[in-house]
């Protein structure tokens, strides 16, 4: 037996072993082929002008007022007189150009979700009040993802006769005029309501994990309750909250649902994600180098946010040291004014924030909805799921794409986590680690665009070529995109499982004569079976609701639509039916509820989803 120095360096074991080598190389090459190279293809287009390397396209973008303007145009809100003579506030935001608009929306959503998520989390983590268990269940509702339709309901809520105006103008007389939101403000409000649960989950976990003695000590030293929150509790929970907020910032940046639903207002279209998306829908100038340059700017912003939070969170890991502590969290009965705040402000806010999901169900079961409330109960839309062939087909398509993607995701996360947690001396390990988490920071629309270039270039005039239009079969492209985009989430669940299995269990098998393959399949895999199942269910749900790639590359050929491609069509085309889209939304919610219940029952671990689209 010879030792191999480079096997030791690359794979962390001096004895060359096909199983170990495959565990490193399969995920590594997969990520290089289907994440790195497509993005590089985009670079190759964006940095070339007249056949030479050039920053021309970037200069073009950065010097154009359309993309970047430090002098805003438009009025943030105006008073509009309705045909009836009534005056309403029409709030839409101002225009700083595509790039700044995206950044401003993203930052606003981060701030608003942080406030909302932290308040809810603090109340749930620290107070015990009658009705808390119902609230706990209600808080799972906004996590349910119904692409486009929930934003559609948000928009409805803010119409002149919508729920918000009915409540605050007609009933409570809080508003001086009716308020209608649209444009960038509409996008901000819709995204805040969609994404605040992500901050909530992170903040809640952080509050729960704070060692109560730290707070007790401060109280003991005479700290009042708000002072205590400001000086001890919040700083300790901050890394977790910041991580959640950053995730929200990235999701906001790449979100397409809100801009698409609000696209009637031109301002909502002036966002980076929508600009790239609209190239896909409007006669395919997707190949434009200027758009590639815009995609790269978007990608850079997202990755900077991601790297920023990674640095920050690892620097302040101390707050997380408390993880795994088994103390009883500090829970108190709220004092009079605190109870008043909880019941009069926090709970109503919660009810409003879950209304979009309720609205989706109402919409799916109603004949029409033009006033404050829907009218006419019908099961016709829901029944379409099983009776209408085109709807059945998109569901079957999505199930097939997602199932195939799960298999790939499981293989990728298993090999990648096995490689990087069992062969720590490997120099490839950290590379693999970063590569398999970086998809979090790559906007879906950027992947869609990268794939567009990549497959058109590498497989021209084949079914894999998106420019082939009706000759294009997106199955493989979608499975690849799903597997890359969802990998980080499944990998986290599986690598947590692997870390709980002591390495000596595998070593004992090797030592008794088993090869790596036997030790992996006979010892490690049975022991992490539950994590694999949990990861699979998580991935399935996330794939079913995938939006960005599904509504771009997935919506080229109607025969192969995934669910989301059909939903966006139903929401935006003149003959479409929002009710039918809502029925599909209900279907997705049911899938999510079943998956979450099964995952929790079978694995006996606490799984929760974050609203991924």
């Amino acid at each position: 037996m010879k030792v191999s120095k480079w096997s030791e360096r690359l794979f962390g074991t001096p004895i060359f072993d096909p199983v170990v080598t495959t565990s490193f190389l399969f995920p590594l090459l997969y990520l290089i082929a289907f994440l790195i190279i497509p993005v590089l293809t985009m670079l190759a287009i964006a940095f070339v002008y007249n056949g030479h390397f050039s920053l021309y396209w970037f200069k073009n973008i950065l010097t154009s007022d359309y993309y970047l303007s430090f002098r805003p145009t438009g009025e943030f809100y105006r008073l509009v007189t309705m045909p009836s003579g009534e005056q309403i506030y029409y709030v839409q935001g101002v225009d700083f150009g595509v790039i700044l608009n995206s950044i401003i929306v993203s930052l606003s959503v981060m701030i608003l979700t942080t406030i909302l998520g932290t308040v809810f989390a603090f109340v749930m983590a620290r107070y015990d009040f009658p009705g808390k268990n119902i609230v706990r269940i209600l808080l799972f509702v906004p996590l349910l993802v119904t692409p486009f339709v929930n934003v559609f309901i948000v928009k409805k809520m803010f119409l002149p006769n919508g729920l918000i105006n009915w409540l605050f103008y007609d009933i409570l007389h809080v508003f001086p005029h009716r308020i209608v939101i649209d444009g960038l403000v509409g996008v901000i409000v819709a995204q805040t309501m969609t994404y605040y649960p992500i901050v909530y989950l992170n903040a809640y976990a952080s509050f729960i994990n704070i060692d109560p003695t730290l707070e007790e000590q401060a109280e003991n030293l005479g700290s009042g309750s708000f002072h205590l929150f400001r000086t001890v509790t919040f700083p300790l929970a901050l890394p977790g909250i910041a991580a959640g907020a950053t995730l929200v910032g990235i999701f906001s940046l790449e979100d397409l649902a809100a801009p698409i639903v609000f696209q009637g207002n031109p301002l909502a279209r002036k966002l980076m994600s929508f600009q790239i998306y609209s190239a896909f829908t409007s006669g395919f100038n997707v190949g434009s180098p200027q758009l590639a340059a815009l995609a790269i700017i978007m990608l850079t912003i997202a990755i900077l946010m991601f790297l920023g939070i990674r640095k920050y969170v690892s620097m302040r890991q101390y707050a997380m040291l408390s993880k795994g502590g088994r103390w009883k969290p500090r829970v108190a009965k709220p004092k009079g004014w605190q109870a008043a705040l909880i019941y009069l402000v926090v709970l109503p806010m919660l009810l409003i924030s879950i209304f979009p999901q309720i609205g989706v169900v109402l919409l799916a079961f109603s004949e029409s909805w033009s006033g404050t409330w829907p009218e006419g109960f019908t099961t016709q839309h829901i029944m379409s799921i099983v009776t209408q062939p085109d709807i059945e087909r998109v569901i079957m398509n999505s199930v097939m794409y997602s199932t195939a993607a799960i298999i790939v995701i499981l293989l990728l996360s298993l090999t990648a986590s096995y490689a990087s947690s069992r062969f720590k001396k490997s120099q490839l390990g950290p590379v693999l680690d970063s590569l398999s988490t970086i998809p979090i920071a790559v906007p879906g629309i950027v992947i869609a665009m990268g794939y567009f270039f990549f497959f058109a270039k590498v497989f021209p005039d084949t079914p894999l070529d998106p420019t082939n239009l009706l000759g294009f079969n997106p199955a493989m492209v979608l499975v690849l995109a799903y597997s890359i985009r969802r990998l980080p989430f499944a990998a986290r669940s599986i690598s947590a499982g692997i870390q709980q299995v002591h390495v000596s269990l595998e070593e004992a098998a090797l030592n008794l004569g088993a090869g790596r393959w036997k030790a992996l399949t006979g010892i490690l895999m049975p022991l992490i079976l539950l994590n694999l199942l949990g990861g699979a269910m998580l991935s399935f749900v996330y794939c079913m609701s995938e939006t960005s790639v599904g509504i771009t590359l997935g919506s080229i050929n109607p025969d192969y639509y995934p669910i989301t491609a059909r939903m966006v069509e139903l929401m935006t085309s003149a003959v479409g039916s929002a009710n039918l889209a809502a029925a599909l939304g209900v279907f997705l919610m049911v899938v999510q509820i079943i998956a979450i219940v099964l995952a929790n029952l079978i694995t006996k671990q606490r799984y929760s989803f974050i609203g991924l689209t």
Binding site: M1, K2, S504, N511, L512, G513, A514, L527
Partner: protein, 354 residues
């Protein structure tokens, strides 16, 4: 059953040098113990022999065969892990049968061998239990059976008693000794407990920060430590810094606290030495061919079956141990006391370089 030879094994983990060039020769059929404080490299040595880690340099032989980089699965050096590493998803039977199934033995033979192994460790009737349904001692027996059933060339035991309570520890200690004698296999045993090592071993290697300080029978190690570290590690002992003041062939005179001891055996070059005297070799009454030194009583402590008298000689405390009440009758702190030690019981060693 083979002998195991380690030649100049070096192993580093990043900055830490875990093994600084280890030479060992474990004879076929003996129970050989690696003894040393925590972190001295015992487990690392064991894992390198098992093929679970590989040395940076050096060679390992099983008999005449070089196995330095042979994968663990092909080596036949079977390790019983400190945490037992039983597979929680398999029954006791399946745990023990694992290695046999890998060797593709017929079902009948596997069954027979597993029965034999479980009988050997006195666990008949536990075949269908899962590891979590067993006590610590029983889990350990399963781990030992799982290793023995594949007839290892060498059995490696990493602190096998450290997770057991005191009573069970004694019982398992003699069990392991019994099984080793019965099967006549080569066993490499790791412990940090000197008493355990003395009781169980044919030979002991005392390790200290990545080096082997001394190899020998328990008696040799205890009675003739060759380094200050070995002397002080083998139970409570007096280690007194001193200076060589006169040499006469292989005999020297040393001095500490103004006390001069003549005619002690010492052949090393260094004049900075320590004088090692076991407490039980110090008498409180005159004996023949003994050196003596007088100081004051610092403390008299009763331990039940023995009594310790701590004498103060200048700044230096020296402990003596006796089982006789009469020896200590009338000894009170601050009163003068004279210690007597036979010359052969005094060991002079070079002072350890730090």
């Amino acid at each position: 059953m083979v002998d195991v030879k380690l030649e100049n094994i070096v192993k580093t983990f990043g900055e830490t040098v875990a093994l600084k060039g280890i030479d060992l020769h474990i004879k076929a059929g003996e129970l050989f113990t690696l003894l040393g404080p925590s972190g001295c490299g015992k487990s690392t040595t064991l894992r390198i022999i098992a093929g679970l880690d590989f040395p940076d340099s050096g060679t390992i032989y099983f008999g005449d065969e070089e196995v330095t980089y042979l994968p663990s699965s092909k080596r036949g050096a079977v390790l019983v892990f400190q945490n037992y590493a039983l597979w929680p998803h398999m029954t006791v039977f399946d745990n023990v049968a694992y290695g046999l199934k890998l060797r593709k033995l017929p079902k009948e033979e596997i069954k027979k061998k597993v029965e034999w192994a479980l009988e050997l460790v006195k666990l008949q009737g536990f075949e269908d239990r899962y590891p979590t349904q067993l006590s610590g001692g029983q889990q350990q027996r399963v781990a030992i059976a799982r290793a023995l059933v594949v007839e290892p060339k060498v059995l490696l035991l990493d602190e096998p008693l450290s997770n057991l309570d005191a009573k069970l520890r004694l019982e398992m200690r003699s069990e392991i000794r019994r099984i080793q004698r019965e099967l006549g296999i080569t066993v490499l045993y790791v412990t940090h407990d000197q008493e355990e090592a003395m009781a169980i071993s044919d030979r002991i290697a005392v390790m200290n920060v990545g080096t082997v300080e001394q190899v020998g029978t328990p008696k040799e190690i205890y009675e003739s430590p060759r380094t200050e570290f070995v002397a002080s590690f083998m139970g409570k002992t007096n280690v007194i810094p001193a200076k060589v003041v006169e040499r006469n062939g292989d005999r020297v005179s040393v001095e500490f606290e103004g006390i001069r001891l003549d005619g002690l055996y010492y052949t090393e070059k260094s004049d900075d030495v320590v004088v090692v005297i076991r407490p039980e070799r110090i008498r409180l009454h005159p004996v023949e061919n003994a050196v003596s030194f007088t100081g004051t009583v610092d403390l008299v402590e009763y331990y039940g079956f023995f009594i310790e008298v701590v004498g103060l000689f200048g700044e230096t405390r020296i402990i003596s141990r006796t089982i006789s009440d009469r020896d200590v009758a009338g000894l009170r702190p601050t009163q003068p006391v004279t210690f007597y030690v036979e010359r052969d019981d005094i060991i002079v060693l070079p002072k350890q370089q730090l």
